[in-house]
Symmetry: C2
Subunit: 215 residues, 2 copies
């Protein structure tokens, strides 16, 4: 069964695409035009009542929320492709710890940077320089903690690549590219080595090749 | 080994306590006084570099982020106490879907209500009526989607109680209690039945009995 992934051009769905490529799971991308309001279409809302992406559809089985979808496919195809959950329950615990750190510490400031630097004019709201400044400061503090962590282990959850690293790819790609704050990564030795490692994985390069344009 | 849980009086650690009680895992609560800055103590920051709670310490094994900790103990003691993850990979996928909905759709507005209604004077920042109004509107829309969902299945992830339900307990308890917006639950038939069910579980009643005071 080919897995349908809705909204491939957006950041969160790109997490899912990278995960599916790592797991060697075949997928079909289904584009959605947010500016035309396709995410509020009644048929789409039957799949995802909150009107956001990604959604995956695998026969009758529908899932949403990028981090939930990644966990499901990483578990379903545990022995296929790259193991993304760790080998033991304790390793998986660390993966979950750092997936949650990404969601609750890393994502809020980098999401605000994305919104105000990349999308304010497109979406028609004022770019707020205070939000940008505060978000950069908060993100810097988070990255200082990552720097310390990555001085002790090669990846966030330990010495193995996992969902904890993969989940950082889409928004960090914006940070070093269109947001124009690559220095936040390159100025931190271990964070920089980690970023070079994970962003050069064939899975992520493939995602960028297929769906580069940030929307 | 007794599991140490730091910060039992706060909302997010209460998720972990309810989970440990459901899983019949023995724990020891370690109070932290945020007003005295104990969460920024260098010794505490060695356990949790972001300076937040909960943290669990199980011998040498340290975890943080409430939803990660719940997943770890629910998995580690899969066959002990209440099964909180579903019986199949597909059921677990739905659990993850709704845990993530709680984290990204339900929690932001209810957290803002908590902050502005319950804690603004204590923490010394102005209560913002606009934030309160907008948060209530957003939360109402989320609860409308829950109402629809819970008209089709008894619990959020299906016809079984799981982490997806349990994760809602602490902040919904604030909503119907000190926030004073019980009508948001009682006015929605299926949400109300669900809330009566999950909030009357012995695990949650035990948590309230031990650590009732909202801090």
């Amino acid at each position: 069964m080919v897995v349908k992934v809705y909204g491939p051009a957006f950041a969160c769905p790109k997490r899912v695409l990278a995960c599916l490529i790592e797991k060697e799971v075949e997928f079909e991308a289904v584009p959605l035009d947010f500016l035309k309001g396709e995410h509020k279409d009644p048929e789409f809302l039957k799949l995802q009542p909150f009107g956001t992406v990604p959604v995956t559809q695998d026969g009758d089985y529908v899932l949403y929320e990028s981090r939930a979808i990644m966990r499901y496919y990483a578990e379903k195809y545990k022995s296929q492709g790259t193991d993304l959950l760790g080998k033991t329950i304790e390793e998986r615990g660390q993966v979950e710890n750092w997936v949650e750190v990404e969601a609750h510490n890393f994502n809020p400031p980098i999401f605000n940077l994305t919104l105000h630097v990349m999308f304010s004019s497109k979406l028609g709201f004022p770019r707020d320089e205070n939000v940008i400044k505060e978000s950069e400061e908060k993100l810097g503090k988070v990255l200082d903690i990552y720097e310390e962590r990555l001085s002790k282990s090669k990846y966030l959850a330990g010495d193995f690549f996992s969902l904890a690293d993969l989940t950082h790819l889409p928004f960090t790609q914006y940070l070093v590219g269109p947001i124009g704050k690559e220095h936040m990564i390159t100025s931190r030795k271990h964070v920089n080595a980690w970023w070079n490692d994970i962003s050069n994985r064939p899975s992520w390069q493939k995602v960028l090749q297929l769906y580069d344009a940030p929307l």
